[in-house]
């Protein structure tokens, strides 16, 4: 099954990280991504630019509504994702628990409909 692992974390906390801490975080991500690639479990994965760059689009009665910022204002923001292909939810949860941001933020595991 395919699962989208949505990485939610506090952007502002991320911005306060020191150079070294940031470096450490990326290194941890590299280890995980390499491992997923070797096992053929990763279909895609990216870090997103911060929500300050986000634009929300709606069309209502044929009219385009464009607003600045993310769809929902929340304490933790969507900062990245993995798309993985694994046998079941337990395997997806195991990967989610290894995503470095899981220690400060939250990972939402969503099955992709086939």
């Amino acid at each position: 099954m395919k699962y989208l692992l949505l990485i939610y974390a506090d952007e502002r906390a991320y911005e306060t990280l020191s150079e070294d801490e940031r470096h450490e975080l990326y290194a941890a991500y590299d280890v995980l991504m390499k491992d997923l690639a070797e096992k053929g479990q990763s279909l895609a994965g990216d870090e997103l630019a911060p929500t300050s760059t986000a634009t929300t689009v709606q069309v209502r009665n044929g009219e385009r509504l464009i607003t600045d910022g993310p769809f929902a204002e929340t304490k933790e923001q969507l900062g990245g994702y993995f798309l993985v292909d694994v046998p079941d939810l337990d395997a997806a949860i195991d990967i989610a628990a290894r995503i470095p941001s899981v220690h400060a933020g939250s990972i939402e595991v969503r099955p992709v409909m086939d």
Binding site: P87, D88, I93, M113
Partner: protein, 403 residues
Amino acid sequence: MPTVAEAVDRAYRDDTGRAVATLIRVTHDFDLAEEAWQEACEQALRTWPQRGVPRDPTAWLFTAARNRAIDRLRRERVGREKTAAAMQIAELEAMGDDMHEIPDDRLRLLFTCCHPSLALDARVALTLRTVAGLTTREIARAFLVPEPTLGQRLTRAKRKIRDAGIPYVVPPREALPDRLDGVRAVVYLVFNEGYEATEGELIRTDLCAEAIRLARLLDHLIPDEPESRGLLALLLLQHARRAARTDDAGDLITLEDQDRSRWDHELIDEGLALVEESASGTYQLQAAIAACHDRAPRPEDTDWAQIASLYDELQRVRPSPVVALNRAVAVAMADGPDAGLRLLDPLADDLDQYHHFHAARADLLRRAGREPEAADAYDRALALVGNDAERRYLERRRAALTT
């Protein structure tokens, strides 16, 4: 000879979990499995009165259920599902009549029903429905929710199992301790719901008995697991006091005032035999505490010092204000009310909204001869209590004060 209804009832109670667990393993479909088994039981109620109860009712029912499942797989699976269905049909056809020759799949079922990605109330409902074989109506009544609500809860849970890909497996060794804890938590919750209903009638025996059945099953399926054994012991030792816990009016009787001859000594013996001297897990420790009470022929024979030291250990393993409260009460019983009150006072911040805290404090103040303060504490407890029987009990204690 049992009547047809009795024979079907017995098979339903004893065999539902095992039959449904195997049908789910093969078909990956909770609804199909449950309905096939249900239909087999209905078929038995229709045909056994004429033909008589078969020599092996379980084998008859399991064969009928397999046939119903095969029919439905043939009829309902379309398109690319057909290939999978053909393999499932072949596996169902190859099974012998004797269900007990097939490996027991109930452990998978239990772990799936208690999967942490399901909401807790869904885990409880699903476990009682599929593992224990209770009807939706029985579960709804036990939890005081409308039947359609409970039905929706079950439907949503089954849909999530399917759509989110919750696996139908016994977790691997490294995940087992955590997941087993989760299963035990569900069983314990079922028991507590029966033991201390939050509103209305105090003891709902059926849920307690179901929880004990589940605890026995868990101890049977994964033997020699100290905490599972501790859980079973704890439930037995608490359930043993059920007849003495309330009076004819349904009012609560405290441990101190219970008629101990009404305790179920068969259950106590069974529970005591399961209690480990070197208890270390939370269920084992609670079982050891319950054992101290159940061993005492009279209240004054209770080994309160031992209970206090078990609560010490429990507080070390899993610290909580409620454990600290119970420890304070045990210390009061061992060393006098003033010693207990000294331990209670620092807990006020955490437990101010908890009626047991104020009730315990009231009792110790009463024992210490500080009646006006005891009256105030009873009033606080009464303002917070939700259970009718406990309310009446507190009102009686409040009224018994001389001031």
